[in-house]
Assembly symmetry: C2
């Protein structure tokens, strides 16, 4: 059985149940699992692990590392079963998020390019086990990844043992789509030779010896579909402002007509904005990104995009079915890489990417909070946004100007958590307008952000704060006694706006 999928005959005897394989996980272990923004995650062993933890006596707590977020409620089930002692580098699960915010799970929020770099340098301890989804195993034990590469390659290389989840629902046609490049050990490391998004510099498989594979579990289940919402009026206006800005850049010779390669973060806003490029004048676009969402395929289908490089494909259910059925149509326009490569500062700086990521909130000086609601409660994690924003030629952060029916302004006097600071943020765009911050001093930025990006509901509040802060002076005027007044008011009354009569509904902190 499975001759086409398990080409190393000796390995066919390793086929076992998920429950048996899950027994390889023991208390205190460090486990690396495939999966990047729901794509190519393992769908059976972690769930059996959660079941075992609920049923067994004795502690069963592990450190779980992944590429990024998982599907199939795996993080919820592991959290409920108390299995997660430590989790990195990213997550999006509501149950896990609450446990993190209660301080029950130690969550290490990392730049996505750095996890395996740290692991390789022995800074995160020894990796005991890797659990990797595969489309096939080659004659020599090499793993053919599925819809993501993420951190899978380095996990498999660095772990003592590997469990493979061979997923029959992932088409064999995925083979050849991947390009696995692993950096040399420092101090003897060569340049990463990618000079165009379409360059292939590695191998199409994860090359490990067959002996390392301790168990093979057969699954047959699709990736969890992406949860992004469709474009709406605000995202269309954000896309409009951005396209106008980029046209202006091309007109003034600061960008080529083809535009530099694009990166777009995970989520509704970036996906919707990128979809808006279908109606732009730009041609022959390329992507050098981490997650490829529906919008990438919208652009390819529209003939607007000629190539997309990513670490994963995270698609809606219909797009997923269509793309996997028609992989040959996309084969020469796609590559999936390790996230260490897709997010590598070296390549991002060299290619001069346009990086589009989502802000939770921005302050009037251009500092961005991507992660912490009210400065305290983790949403998802910084993800790759820092890898890209620091090194891109143009780092854009998009957000709707207000949230919760206007009770929250996404433009605030001072963000209570800084993921991206003034030095790295080039452009802020909301449905209200776009602020080009490049080459400006903080006082110039403040005027622009308030007048162009803030919602009219909040402009006077922000103008008053800025005007008051100027009396204190400085390169970056602030009044520390009042800097978080809007946040504190929200926590007390349920709205950042003053004079809202209704009693507080608890605020975001209570929801965390």
């Amino acid at each position: 059985m499975y001759e086409d999928r398990i080409r190393c005959a000796a390995l066919r005897g390793k086929i076992t149940s998920a429950a048996e394989a899950a027994k390889l996980v023991r208390n205190g272990m460090r486990v690396g699992a495939s999966g990047f923004t729901r794509a190519g995650d393992t769908k059976a062993v972690p769930i059996e692990l959660a079941r075992r933890a609920r049923e067994e006596q004795g502690p069963l707590r592990i450190t779980l590392m992944t590429g990024a977020s998982l599907g199939h409620d795996v993080d919820r089930m592991l959290t409920e079963a108390g299995v997660l002692e430590r989790r990195l580098p990213f997550q999006v699960d509501a149950t896990l998020r609450k446990a993190i915010n209660r301080g029950e799970v130690m969550f290490v929020d990392q730049h996505l390019s750095e996890t395996v770099e740290m692991l390789r340098a022995n800074l995160l301890g020894k990796l005991d086990l890797a659990i990797i989804e595969a489309a096939a195993i080659t004659e020599t034990g090499g793993i053919v990844p599925t819809t993501s590469v993420g951190n899978s390659a380095s996990f498999a290389i660095l772990a003592e043992k590997v469990i493979v989840e061979l997923n029959l629902a992932q088409p064999l046609a995925l083979e050849g789509l991947h390009d696995v490049w692993i950096p040399g050990r420092r101090p003897h490391r060569d340049p990463l030779p990618i000079v165009r998004p379409q360059d292939r510099v590695g191998t199409p498989i994860i090359d490990i010896p067959a002996e390392k594979i301790a168990a093979i579990v057969i699954t047959n289940e699709a990736d969890s579909p992406s949860t992004v919402l469709p474009a709406d009026e605000e995202t269309a206006r954000i896309a409009g402002h951005l396209i106008e800005f980029l046209q202006h850049e091309v007109k003034h010779g600061r960008m080529s007509a083809q535009l530099p390669p694009l990166q777009a973060g995970i989520g509704t806003i970036a996906n919707a904005v990128l979809s808006g490029f279908v109606d732009s004048p730009f041609e022959a676009l390329t992507m050098y990104s981490e997650v490829l969402q529906d919008s990438t395929f919208d652009l390819i289908d529209a003939g607007k995009m000629v190539f997309a490089s990513g670490a994963s494909m995270t698609l809606s259910a219909p797009r997923q079915a269509q793309v996997l059925a028609e992989l040959d149509r996309y084969r020469d326009k796609l590559v999936l890489r390790p996230q260490e490569v897709s997010n590598h500062p070296e390549v991002i700086r060299r290619l001069g990417l346009i990086a589009l990521n989502t802000a939770l909130e921005c302050d009037i000086y251009g500092n961005v909070n991507s992660t912490h609601v009210s400065g305290t409660h983790m949403m998802n994690g910084i993800g790759g946004s820092g890898d890209f924003a620091r090194n891109a030629s143009c780092a854009i952060f998009a957000t709707k100007a207000i949230a919760k029916d206007g009770r929250i302004s996404s433009i605030v006097p001072m963000v209570p958590h800084v993921d991206h600071n003034e030095h790295d943020v080039d452009v802020i765009v909301t449905e209200q307008g776009l602020a080009d911050l490049r080459g400006l001093a903080p006082r110039e930025r403040a005027r622009l952000i308030i007048e162009r990006c803030a919602h009219p509901l909040y402009r006077d509040l922000l103008r008053d704060y800025y005007s008051d802060a100027q009396k204190i002076g400085g390169q970056t005027p602030h009044n520390l006694a009042k800097a978080y007044e809007m946040h504190l008011r929200f926590n007390e009354t349920g709205s950042m706006l003053p004079g809202v009569a209704e009693a507080g509904t608890g605020g975001l902190v209570a929801n965390g």
Copy 2:
């Protein structure tokens, strides 16, 4: 005259006075001047420009870009004469600082690797004029830089015209010390091929056509000496903690016995700490840094360091005289590069640097403020610390635990300005101890930073803050209503400690 220094005969007719050359600067121009942390700055034309501005009618305001800070009170004189409309990317002058903090000079505080990248991409406007100090001009008009390369090469290449200050006090023996590499224009850019600190990949001169040189001014003046203070008991203890930590890393196989290449930021603390390595067990050290200070030569002379790559040499007066007199002794152990190369994320990540920079203050979660006193008033600028910290294999921030005789704690609940965030800060070290933050969640970091790094005077205050904040919860517990209590108390009473009787002496803000 000057045949050995001006080898292009046609250019000898361009020799003129500083006053004449300064007339090439006109109101509204963008000017790029050599100089990086006082080394290799222009010593005559800017001073004549300041004189002219004071004497002439009519406005004379410019944008001045440099490598980093200047010597010879140039920034003071230009500020007093009202010449500076906009200044980037770094400065350390007290008079200019005050003008910046009053909002009179627009100061664009940039990662030092990014200024010429932005200039090249036409994001900072057209550069009208470059003023570059040289040790010599070659047969074809190429410029031999002096004690810094900084941004000089790209300024000379991108400017419409170039004024050369030929400084006879800079020895001709400097020739050959430099390695000028300029990246290709995106999107067609090759990898930066440096794989060891000692690799030479460019040319020893700044290659521009002779016709671009509009004037040559002869000077004969040494660089302003560095202003760093000698090591003291606290810096010796910081060095001790750091050496112990690095020995521990070597012992556990996480670093080679030779250590990865070192970077050390400008200033007393980093210089003193590095000098402390003379008494360490490490051998065959290398540096890949921006500024080479006295400590680099202490280590070379002690036989501890085999090679140092920098963008400038900023030395005390006796070290400067000695090194310039004995350049041949150091020739095969030194290279000076453009700051775009010395600070390039690509090389920093590839080499896996140990980066040592100074913090103004750190918070209990590991966020670092390098620039803004009280969150508002600019000290110097972020400099290269962000270039290095983000991409180093080990990003260390050092500070003394208290300042102003204990009235200020350098460890605070929440920094009011974030230059380096939790994702980029690996280690914090004070004379009290060292906190290794790698792989830790924020709650784990807080305990470590408070117990290891904070001064005993402030530990209870910080413990109380953290304990109180935990009631609010979250990944990063904070109480926004109290996060800046210590800063506000300092501004009111002159001390961050409660119960200090004496009336406020104004606080740092008033000094800004």
